[in-house]
């Protein structure tokens, strides 16, 4: 009997997770259950009014369990923006139930965009409004109260280069102590106005988070509505010439560009860009119905599998670490060197445990190197760690730094409230509230004035 029960449990690979989620139609909180299926690991949930919803949350149980078990580093904010009356996710701002501070605040200074892409998580179009600098200042001062200073800021939209006071806003953020300010852009203005990158750099922009999904014009047309490949290349050249760092931001659409992951990484490496961040297409805002079925999600498990396969092992699954500040299912990162033209992930030189502190809050390279710096000789002399650091030092000479990230963004189909509570990428609203970015897109974006 005991043998039969053990065998039954092994076959079923019993997994008892019961996430709390929401109904994708009415957005009420409903419980879900995680099940294995031939299509992968699914979250299944039932709304009393709108029926059953099934969503892929990982390729398989083994990868999912490994992600769930990864290390976390938690730093709580100094103050919260909202009291807890109705519970998560209805009091967001952040409420006392939130379990992580803000690693990145997204500040959308306009809802207008000059592209109107077929895939847009915000559903932006030419119609919309701009924030006034006074609203930006109010929001930033609230953020400073929560965090004890400014966190890294990403200026976003819509398309922020359409905002007539963009330069003034960048200077304002600088004047409040903002450093490493990032601009999230489609690159059209940066490609067409060669001096814009220079002006932005002088005002205080450090890097451009450039949306670029593919090197294939047909894919660009599908996702963005136009062939933008040449424009993106020009934007990259203009930014680099102006001394701005460039990070490519790739929206992965299953069945459309999920086979181009490594091609985009190579493209970025060859141009000595800062890195590439991939993010899953979400079923929020605007998306083509033919690729936007609730069940199909490109998850962290898919990314791990694909990058190893497409790179022929140049980047292996184990080279990517679950990011320790949010829920480990939400993001993956690899800090790497470009050494003699090839990728050399840092975890191949160092113990993963020595990297985890650097990966929390995704510390910049200067902070990371200071953290890893060999300590003066002591009882640890001649230990394995010292030899590893020697290897790292040798590898770094003449190399360049690079990083590859994956953000497993959520939408109303796959939303998991435990993941929401641990989020560290927050929308900063004009009222000065902080809302986890995926929750903002799912529930709050269109309730904003």
């Amino acid at each position: 009997m005991k043998k039969a029960l053990t065998s039954f449990l092994e076959q079923r690979d019993y997994f008892s997770e019961r996430p709390m989620s929401i109904c994708p139609v009415c957005l009420r909180v409903i419980p879900g259950v995680v099940r294995e299926s031939e299509a992968g690991l699914l979250m299944e949930k039932t709304c009393p009014d709108h029926g059953v919803f099934k969503t892929t949350i990982c390729t398989d149980l083994q990868r999912y369990k490994a992600l769930c078990a990864a290390d976390r580093k938690v730093t709580r904010p100094l103050a919260r923006g909202s009291p807890s009356e109705h519970g998560c996710p209805d009091d967001c701002g952040l409420c006392p139930a939130h379990d992580q501070h803000t690693c990145l605040a997204i500040l959308e200074i306009t809802s207008r965009c000059d592209l109107g892409c077929p895939v847009c998580l915000a559903g932006s179009s030419v119609q919309g409004g701009d924030l006034q600098p006074a609203q930006v200042e109010h929001a930033l001062k609230r953020l400073m109260e929560y965090e004890g200073g400014l966190t890294p800021i990403q200026i976003s939209g819509g398309e922020p280069t359409l905002h007539p006071q963009l330069i003034e806003i960048v200077r304002l953020i600088r004047s409040l102590g903002g450093r490493g300010i990032e601009l999230n852009s489609n690159g059209l203005a940066l490609s067409g106005e060669p001096h814009l990158a220079q002006r932005l750099g002088e005002a205080g922009i450090a890097s451009v988070y450039l949306q670029m999904d593919s090197l294939d014009p047909k894919v660009s047309k599908f996702i963005r509505g136009r062939d933008l490949v040449e424009a993106k290349v020009r934007a990259i050249e203009n930014c680099l010439q102006a001394g701005l760092e460039v990070i490519l931001s790739v929206t992965v659409v299953p069945g459309v560009n999920d086979q181009e992951i490594w091609d985009v990484v190579r493209f970025a490496m060859e141009r000595r860009l800062t890195g590439v961040n991939f993010q899953a297409m979400t079923l929020t805002g605007r998306y083509p119905q033919e690729v936007g079925q609730g069940e199909d999600h490109f998850t962290s498990g898919h990314f791990l599998r694909e990058i190893q396969r497409q790179s022929n092992g140049a980047l292996r699954e184990g080279d990517l670490t679950p990011i320790p500040c949010p829920d480990p299912r939400c993001g993956l990162i690899s800090y790497a060197l470009i050494h003699e033209g090839e990728l050399l992930p840092l975890n191949r030189l160092l113990e993963r445990s020595s990297l985890v502190d650097c990966l929390a809050d995704l510390k910049d390279w200067p902070q990371t190197l200071r953290h890893l710096r060999p300590q003066p000789c002591g009882p640890c002399c001649g230990t394995r760690e010292d030899r590893n650091l020697e290897l790292l030092s040798d590898a770094m000479l003449g190399s360049d730094f690079f990083s590859i990230g994956f953000h497993a963004m959520m939408d109303p189909y796959c939303l998991d409230l435990d993941r929401v509570k641990r989020c560290c990428v927050h929308e900063l609203t004009p009222e000065g509230k902080l809302i986890p970015f995926c929750l903002y897109n799912t529930k709050y974006r269109h309730t904003q004035p």
Binding site: Q154, E245, T274, N277, D364, R370, P374, S393, L397, F401
Partner: protein
């Protein structure tokens, strides 16, 4: 959206000038002489071993003259203070 790590670091070229003597030239633009002095005090000094020293600082050439006993170790230490010697 993720904030990937910024790699804003200072690139330098190191040229041998004689036994144990080197010129370090900053290739990354520096704002002013104060910035150069700050780098020397807060970063270069930290990388010097016993008997090694900064002999001279030339702002007009964005360079330093250094007495270094072990150049390989010195270059390694520079990396950890965010200074990247150019590939020789």
């Amino acid at each position: 959206m993720l904030k990937l790590p910024s790699k804003r670091w200072k690139k330098v070229r190191i040229k041998p000038e004689g036994p144990g003597r080197y010129t370090l030239i900053f290739l990354t633009p520096l704002k002013d002489e104060d910035e150069l002095r700050e780098i020397v005090e807060e970063e270069i000094d930290m990388c010097l071993d016993q008997g090694e020293r900064v002999i001279d600082m030339q702002w007009d050439r964005r360079s330093l003259t250094l007495a270094i006993a072990d150049i390989v170790s010195f270059k390694r230490r520079l990396l950890y203070v965010n200074i990247n010697p150019e590939d020789p």
